[in-house]
């Protein structure tokens, strides 16, 4: 199963036929395994890594550090849920260190990010403070290097 997931994680468009050839399993077996992985939410979604900057859409990303007073019984989970339900929160992590929640916020403009942080995040009862870092340049996204790089060519024939 892991071998199939690893292949799909790298290339969501790999067909059951291709995966079967790569893993030495039957096409039927692969298709069934993928179906089950989808049903049981091992596979959540198939997405595309887009270089939006190159496509001409700017957008604004910010990494927001959120300091939270944990609540009795539920710890950080309740406030995390309050935050991750906002579509502006692209990723939400509980982290160790000097702050508690790391929130990646995306919006169209800096003003929108600022409004979201001040009105939605900072105003939550258990939130004690926020620090917002606006993203300036994207070098690598989800394992993909975005700055153009050239692979040195190999000789076409070596023995």
């Amino acid at each position: 199963m892991h071998d199939i997931l690893e292949i799909l994680e790298k290339d969501a468009r790999a067909s059951p036929e291709q995966i079967a050839a790569m893993t030495g399993r039957s096409v039927l077996e692969v298709a069934e395994a993928i179906h089950q992985a989808e049903e049981s939410h091992l596979i959540l979604r198939y997405k595309t890594v887009v270089d939006w900057e190159k496509a001409g859409r700017e957008g604004v990303w910010a990494l927001v550090e959120v300091k939270v007073a944990p609540q009795r019984e539920v710890g950080f989970d309740r406030v995390a849920e309050r935050i991750y339900r906002f579509p502006e929160a692209r990723s939400v992590y509980l982290v160790s260190g000097t702050y508690d929640l790391a929130v990646v916020v995306t919006a169209n403009t800096m003003r929108e990010v600022a409004a979201f942080v001040s009105e939605k995040l900072a105003s939550l009862d258990s939130v004690q403070g926020t620090v917002t870092h606006f993203l300036l340049k994207r070098y690598k996204e989800d394992g993909e290097i975005l700055v153009s790089q050239q692979q040195a060519p190999r000789l076409p024939l070596t023995l």
Binding site: E6, Q18, T23, R154, P156, T158, L159
Partner: protein, 394 residues
Amino acid sequence: MSVAQSKEAADFLSQRVRQIPASGIRRFFDLLASMDGVISLGVGEPDFPTPWHIREAAIYSLEKGYTTYTSNYGLLELRRALATHLEGRYGVCYDPDTQLLITVGVSEALDLALRAILNPGDEVLSPDPSYVSYMPGTVLAGGKFIPVPTRMETGFRVQPSDLEAKIAPRAKAILLGYPSNPTGAVMEREELLQIAQIARRHDLLVISDEIYDRLVYGVEHTCFASLPQMPERTILLGGFSKAYAMTGWRVGYAAAPAPIIEAMMKIHQYAALCAPIMSQKAALEALRAGEAAVLEMVADYDRRRRVMVKGLNDIGLSCFEPQGAFYAFPSIGVTGLSSEEFAERLLVEEKVAVVPGSAFGAGGEGHVRCCYATSLAEINEALRRMARFVEHHR
């Protein structure tokens, strides 16, 4: 010196060099160089760049000013790390002070080994087909090369009985190269044990070129020197090129009994002096922290291997399952073409480059070498083109 004098200049060449035939695929190589848009399955190296942490370690060593000669044997810390690596992996024990030599790629190690042991006329037995430098290397060292035929039916593994049948009074060494370039064959442990017995019975040395040792799929690689009573009559050759995608760094090694390493070092110190220090620093980093990258690359090659082998069989180029290296070695019998004709026409008609099996010895005729260390998209496109080609030439 001008071009016009080249005929006379050629007269200066030694008999020994003239004995070596010009590579049969020179013409093919020139043709390939003149064409654009070719998908090449003709490469003999990984398509991964060297893992970044290894490159970074070399950059760091340059920044620190490591730009000098090293000991002729190679950096002691690299030899120590190598001794630990070989013992951990194969249970073979080598003294880093006297039994290990760091060389300029495994190619140099092979040349040193042959020159260190051969007297004029001594015979070296080696599977046919085998890596291109085995025969010329033997001849240049004054030896006589004795090819031992291998067959597709036995997965191109050299059969001990075939080997023994070729042993004559002047036989000095057996030269093995498994996992094999060009066939992808991996020897079974039982067969190697029999070869070990033969080596003892006929008092032969074994040179075991294990440059592809880490690239095996679903089977264990047996290190020849790990077999009982073999360390004292084995020259183990290895390197970093294939496992760590470090072909351009040119760093390899030999492990053998001290008198043999000392003799090899004697030649090495006059011919090469030492392997480049930055490459040795990179190799050290590879041994210390490269394991995860090796496993990841092997898993990736394995997927492509399956696609290649299935694809070749599907289009009628019957192919035994290679268990090592990164080559498939299908039979082209169905086309009725010689391996050189096949490679040349495939290149001209479909722009796919493969290597004629005949480049690896007479035993390679009727096959071509297809390297699957290239992207899946290219493998699939190459297979589509080859299917069309085979259909056309059946």
